[in-house]
């Protein structure tokens, strides 16, 4: 093995304590992300993919979340053994996040400048000219005339712009890993494409690993190097994107791929996933 991977997850299991008993959300998964690599975690809602993303910096509220087994090794150090101060130090700094709903994920009563500057202040106290730094990142994510936008409030921006601000905020501390949790789901289709293009472009310009969490196989090709398919808290298929797309092994993966509408295909009803059949197949 040449170098240790940036992120190495080993046998991670996460439970949720609810009033009706314990729910096993993630049932012992393992995967790695190398520096600069993009991994897509694909699965339907409830498959445990978002929980996995949030667990990387222990953002899940505990309780109800319980980390039952496993290790989350970030550059060789186990996140699950870190104290609160160390955790804060990696959040935003080493691992940054973009969430699904930009309109609620930004604080409505602070200007976008203040929200981005807060991250920079926390992790890069050496930066003197905060305004210039914020403008730099707004520019990087393709916001036109960023100086004018500095003192805008989130509600004054469109959904696509808000998500760009989220991305700028995530990039502003030069993280080694970006977790994009359904970054395009809440946006309309044309904006979705723009945001995905943006991520693709950033991937080449800023050397940074990305974990892209999505339920949509359609957006990962050309962006993700590897794919992990999650089903009911387990990774059922894991491999290079090209191979998985070309030759899916697990019936669930095949079913998911069939759900992608194809250009030029015969007009017919899109496939749905038959859970009973999958259950029977194990």
């Amino acid at each position: 093995m040449p170098t240790a991977p940036l992120l190495d997850i080993r046998n991670l299991a996460i439970d949720f304590a609810t009033e009706t008993g314990t729910v096993e959300a993630v049932k012992g998964i393992s995967f790695t992300v190398a520096e600069g690599e993009t991994l897509a975690i694909v699965g339907e809602s409830g498959s445990g993919k978002s929980v996995t993303g949030l667990a990387l910096t222990r953002l899940l509220p505990e309780p109800p979340a319980i980390y039952r087994t496993g290790e989350i090794l970030l550059s060789g150090r186990d996140v699950l053994k870190m104290n609160p101060r160390e955790l804060r130090n990696i959040r935003g700094n080493k691992i940054a996040y973009i969430f699904q709903e930009p309109s609620t994920s930004l604080n409505p009563v602070f200007t976008i400048r203040n929200q981005i500057a807060e991250a920079i202040q926390l992790h890069r106290p050496e930066v003197r000219d905060l305004d210039a730094e914020v403008v730099k990142y707004l520019d990087l994510v393709g916001i036109v005339d960023p100086t004018k936008r500095l003192h805008d409030y989130p509600h004054q921006l469109s959904g696509g712009m808000q998500q760009r601000v989220m991305i700028a905020m995530a990039l502003s501390c030069q993280p080694e890993l970006l977790v994009a949790d359904e970054p395009t789901t809440a946006l309309d289709v044309t904006i979705q494409a723009q945001i995905i293009d943006q991520l693709r472009e950033l991937k080449t310009r800023v050397r940074m690993a990305i974990i892209l969490i999505t339920h949509n196989f359609g957006i990962i090709s050309g962006l993700a190097d590897h794919v992990a398919v999650m089903f009911r808290g387990k990774i059922v298929e894991y491999g290079p994107t090209r191979e998985v797309l070309a030759n899916p092994q697990h019936p669930y993966t095949r079913a998911l791929i069939q759900c992608i509408p194809q250009l030029g295909a015969k007009r017919e009803r899109l496939a749905t996933i038959d859970h009973a059949a999958l259950e029977a197949a194990g």
């Binding site: 009033e19 910096t57 953002l59 309780p63 609160p84 804060r88 130090n89 990696i90 959040r91 935003g92 700094n93 940054a96 996040y97 969430f99 709903e101 609620t104 994920s105 930004l106 604080n107 409505p108 009563v109 602070f110 807060e118 991250a119 926390l122 992790h123 409030y153 509600h155 989220m166 905020m169 501390c173």
Partner: protein, 713 residues
Amino acid sequence: MLAYLVRRLLYVVPILFGVMVLTFALFFVMQSPESMARNVLGKRANPQNVQQWLEKRGYDKPLFFNTQPEGQLFDSIFWNQMRRFATLDLGKSDTTEREISQVFREGAGPSLLITLPAFLIGLGLAVMLSLYLVFLRDSPIDTAGVVFCVALMSIPAMVYIIFGQGVVALSLNWFPAFGFHAEGLATLRFILLPVLLMVIIHLGRDVRLYRAVFLEEIAQDYVRTARAKGVSNSRLLRTHVLKNGLISLITLTVSQLPQLILGSLLLENFFGIPGLGNALFHAIQTNDFATVGAFVFLGALLIQAGYIATDLCYGLVDPRIRLGSSAETTAGPAHGTAWGKWAALLAGGALLVWALGSGFQSAWWKGTWTALSTKGGQLLAGVWVQNALVVGGFALVAGLILAGARNERWQRAFSRLRRDRIGVTAGIVIALYLLIGALDMLRLPIGPGTSGTTVLDWLARGIPAEKSYSAPLATHTLSVVNPEPLRGRHLLGTTALGKDTLLEVLKACRTALLIGGLTSAIYLPIGALLGIMAGYFRRWTDDLIQYVYSLVSSIPDILLLVSVLLVLGKSLTNMSITLALTSWVGLCRLLRGETLRQSERPYVAAARALGQSHWKIITRHLLPNVMHLVLINFVLGFSSLVLAEAILSYLGVGAPVGTASWGAMIDSARNELSREPQIWWNIAAATGALFFLVLSLNLFGDALRRAFDPKRG
């Protein structure tokens, strides 16, 4: 901005007009000017004096329209009154003949000296404490903190004041116990204790409320984003959550600000502070209708000022709101757009008052009313009729809950409730109180008269009556000069009339439960029905209902209660009617909002598509879906009704003399605590009994809310 302000001010007009009509209806229609004169003059009332008094105030004129040959059409009590209030002329006091505006000018200063510092200190303290609890959320300290807040809320204000004055000022001699002199820094000596007491009185309620607001903020998505940035928990609270939370708090706080001028009724009276609260207290005690009426008008004016201030603050603080464009303001339904509708509404209202006015004053109505009430009284006096009513009442509540429990959501909530240790304990305590109350309501056909004896009295028949006060377990009455031997030992001592304190406290359960039950029986159906109707029918039904409840809520509660009771007179039924008058608003507003949301759901559209009638949709579909809110409101509302009963009895407009009441027992402690030796057992027993009931009701209500809505504990 300016356009908004103008429109907002115009909206005040119909509300104030409504308030004026309401006050008029109350003072001049519900009671006639003659009876008012007799009340004010008291013993000096003879036909001549009454006539003179009426003429002097112009109350000898016709009520609405002057149709006498040489009179002008609008030279009547109603129009003159309207004209006076419209020009902000508040008139003269009925008893002291002083200009009421003069009273306000003199009283506002001392009142504000107490209320303003107390408000600011209380706000700061409550925000800090609630943020601290949110910081420790879900920990035992948080739970204990909430229970402590509820406990603070469950002690009636006058007990704090009596304790503060009696112990801190009189016994420890730390502060002057009475009096007020505005003389520079020395004033501080006089206001310190009242300010402190006022802070404590409101602290529990505020901390609990603000905690809920901050908890709601902490569940927002932006909090997760901030944590993902590496923001620490304490910084998160200090910046992100605090700013958002404070914006939500504006509604709760800024609207109260103008009302601070009115001062604190109880505090000022106790400490002899010459403020507006004291002035009102005296006006109530002396049947000074003109002053009480002016207070109502001024209170409404101040509440409207508070609403406008709230809107302006939002415009300044919340970047999302730009005044004039947004609907997220306190302005009512029409936003001043449909003037024709308003005119129709007001004309209709005035007509109603006129019709009622003529009706109420007619001999036919009076005769019928007296006949009906005596007949009703006789009919209800029978032992078995009363027993049937009591059993019926309990059965009705039990039946409604059982009917609700068929609902799957209720079943889930009940199974959660069973595991809530605080909730179960509180429920058991409430059941005990209900049992005692029921024992004192059910009657046995024993003893003189047709009304029989209550089961509780029958059980307590062995407890002897004494002649005067005696200490707990004492052998002689409490008299320094001439102690007499007692006929028996009394666990908690005896009252001024020699009644056993414990028995008296237990008998007061009945009063509290009766008031709470009767009031709930009146306001719950009204509030629920109107709320659902407003949310379901929308449009003019909604406008009308919103107008009515804005009207009621634009008069400070205590003022409305006091003035209605002053006019109606003391009785348990009147007290229930009066309390119902103010209680339905909260429920109505809550259900209107919830019904608006529910009506968007497909099941309502589906029911309409199936051709269900409106009435069926309301009762079969909407009501079951909001019924849990009614239940929670019932339990929490019950606790405030019990407290209100005590406070009103204490103010002298509550339970009639001779009815056992915790408020009345606390009231008598004013004299008892200043005696030597102090008689503390009556107030202690009454406060204890009241405290545990209100505390349990509050905790049980909270537990119910948690059970139905586990996410928003």
